[in-house]
């Protein structure tokens, strides 16, 4: 079994294998990533840091591309929905 770590996504504790990207963790937790300008829920599209659809608030810092970040123990992720 791979090592796991726990992070908080919208206040909920989520456990993921280490080496999981924050975007993958949001998909595992079935959380939409953001609300669009007209209020539609959106999720990661390109997976490689280009489209910015996966941006969220990570450790209090807004607009982080979650596909380019890896989960760390104790990290907090908020999708501001």
């Amino acid at each position: 079994m791979p090592e796991t770590l726990a992070l908080k996504i919208n206040g909920q504790l989520v456990e993921v294998p280490s080496g999981t990207s924050v975007a993958a963790a949001l998909l595992i937790a079935s959380q939409p990533f953001r609300l669009s300008v007209i209020g539609e829920p959106r999720a990661a599209l390109c997976g490689m840091g280009i489209c910015f659809e996966c941006r969220a608030v990570v450790n209090g810092r807004a607009h982080r591309r979650t596909c380019q970040l890896f989960c760390e123990a104790g990290m907090t992720v908020e999708t501001n929905l």
Partner: protein, 450 residues
């Protein structure tokens, strides 16, 4: 905090082409720095790839071989660097982001090698903004980064050789691939497949993918026209497919849809490098139109892994004033392969009518197809609708608008190329000072093993 770092050769992008270029240049005794946006080197093709030994052979994975040689070469690799500004006068600025902090670094260079790779082309269709709809390379990248797809029913659609590769990858990860739908007609694909006899490795790879995909239907001349949400939620439940005459519904949990690749030429354009069509113009030594700036890999033409690595080596040698005729000949052969790919996977005209009036084309600013159609080109449309002005800076809707509306991307490019904190722009380099660039006089031939 801002830092200043100098090198003989700065390489931007640590994919296969950038790694090869940096390795060779460093082995020639030059001081080399390689920057990459991602956390790990390898680019998209080697992204998060496990490089464990293959059980049947003792050979190391090509990615591991390339990285071992890079580390031995003395080149310095710096990841998580987003290059948002560069000037032909000899500097590039990057935002270095960690989980808790970010700072701007300035890299001064004598010569610059651009290895910025390519991204997927997305074409808008009704429902493409639903959670559950991904790019083809996109879903592969997310799966490799820990998104479990086991048990999911997935349709893989769009165009390009990546479809079969990703479908095989998803099956290996435990997913059920219900359909692989390639928009290109068999008529165009057959000559491409036949041309592969010159490249046995590619043929064997293709056959391996097909074996893994026994349960999936592989269709050519078919494409997705609509993604449908389940009635109680904003998530994907089915897709409408068509072959141009008949339309049918297929249930699925996830859709991977991507229309091949577009080159990342933004940085080259910002530097003032001339383009040839959509690609960065280079000579046989990978030199761009700007003295001291080279470009390698997909920004110069979508020609695949082998060509990218060879171009990297050529540029690395050229930085040291050397060349090898053998490499130059081999790279020419790969360009034929690129032309065959371009023909085989050309987008069919029917895809232009995919978006409906209310389909969102610019996902950052939620600008619909109708709103964009009211204008003649980017300048007007940007001013009036904000399309292409969100955080992706038109990287997604730009290639779509080019195909759908014939809008040429703007020629002039301005920094920052990526969204950065305001303080990143207050750097003293905003007013550019001229730094001398070492002129490469002649390029001599070398017989060294590269």
């Amino acid at each position: 905090m801002s830092q200043d770092i100098s090198s003989d050769v700065l390489v931007i992008g640590a994919g296969p082409a950038g790694i090869a270029a940096a390795t060779i240049a460093a082995e020639q005794g030059l001081k080399v720095i390689v920057l990459d946006d991602n956390r790990q080197p390898g680019g998209q093709i080697w992204r998060n790839l496990s490089t464990a030994h293959h059980p049947s052979t003792s050979k190391r994975h090509p990615k591991q071989q390339a990285l071992d040689r890079l580390y031995r070469s003395g080149a310095q690799l710096l990841t998580r660097r987003v290059v948002f500004n560069a000037s032909a006068s000899g500097f590039a600025e990057a935002l270095h982001e960690t989980a808790t902090d970010s700072n701007v670094e300035t890299f001064r260079f004598q010569q610059l090698i651009l290895a910025t790779g390519a991204r997927e082309r997305f074409l808008p269709f009704p429902g493409w903004t639903l959670p559950g709809v991904f790019g083809v390379g996109g879903l592969q990248a997310l799966t490799r980064a820990g998104y479990p797809v086991a048990g999911k029913h997935i349709a893989v659609t769009g165009t390009g050789p990546l479809l079969l590769a990703v479908a095989a990858h998803l099956v290996a990860a435990g997913a059920t691939v219900t359909t692989v739908a390639e928009q290109a007609p068999m008529l165009k694909l057959a000559p491409f497949a036949a041309s592969l006899w010159r490249q046995p490795a590619k043929l064997v790879q293709g056959a391996r993918y097909r074996t893994k995909l026994r349960s999936a239907t592989y269709r050519t001349g078919c494409w997705v026209v609509k993604a449908i949400a389940s009635p109680d939620s904003h998530t994907l439940s089915a897709i409408h497919m068509t072959d141009g005459t008949r339309t049918w519904t297929e249930p699925c949990d996830l859709l991977a849809c991507g229309y091949y690749l577009v080159p990342n030429t933004e940085l080259a354009q910002l530097l003032g490098c001339a383009l040839r069509g959509s690609f960065v113009q280079t000579d046989a030594h990978q030199r761009t139109s700007i003295l001291g700036i080279f470009c390698v890999g997909e920004p110069t033409g979508i020609a695949g892994l082998e060509a990218a690595i060879m171009q990297g080596k050529i540029a690395g040698l050229a930085c040291a004033g050397k060349s090898t005729p053998k490499l130059l000949r081999r790279v020419m052969k790969q360009q034929v392969f690129a032309k065959n790919l371009e023909y085989a996977f050309a987008l069919r005209q029917e895809l232009r009518s995919l978006p409906k009036q209310d389909t969102i084309v610019c996902r950052c600013e939620d600008v619909t197809f109708a709103a964009m159609q009211a204008y003649h080109g980017w300048t007007d449309a940007k001013l009036q609708t904000r399309c292409g002005m969100g955080p992706c800076q038109g990287r997604v809707c730009g290639p779509a608008a080019e195909f759908l509306l014939g809008w040429k991307p703007p020629i002039s490019m301005r920094q920052p190329l990526y969204p950065v904190p305001l303080r990143a722009l207050s750097s003293p380099l905003a007013s550019t000072s001229k730094v001398a660039i070492n002129k490469i006089e002649g390029i001599e031939s070398t017989k060294e093993r590269i």
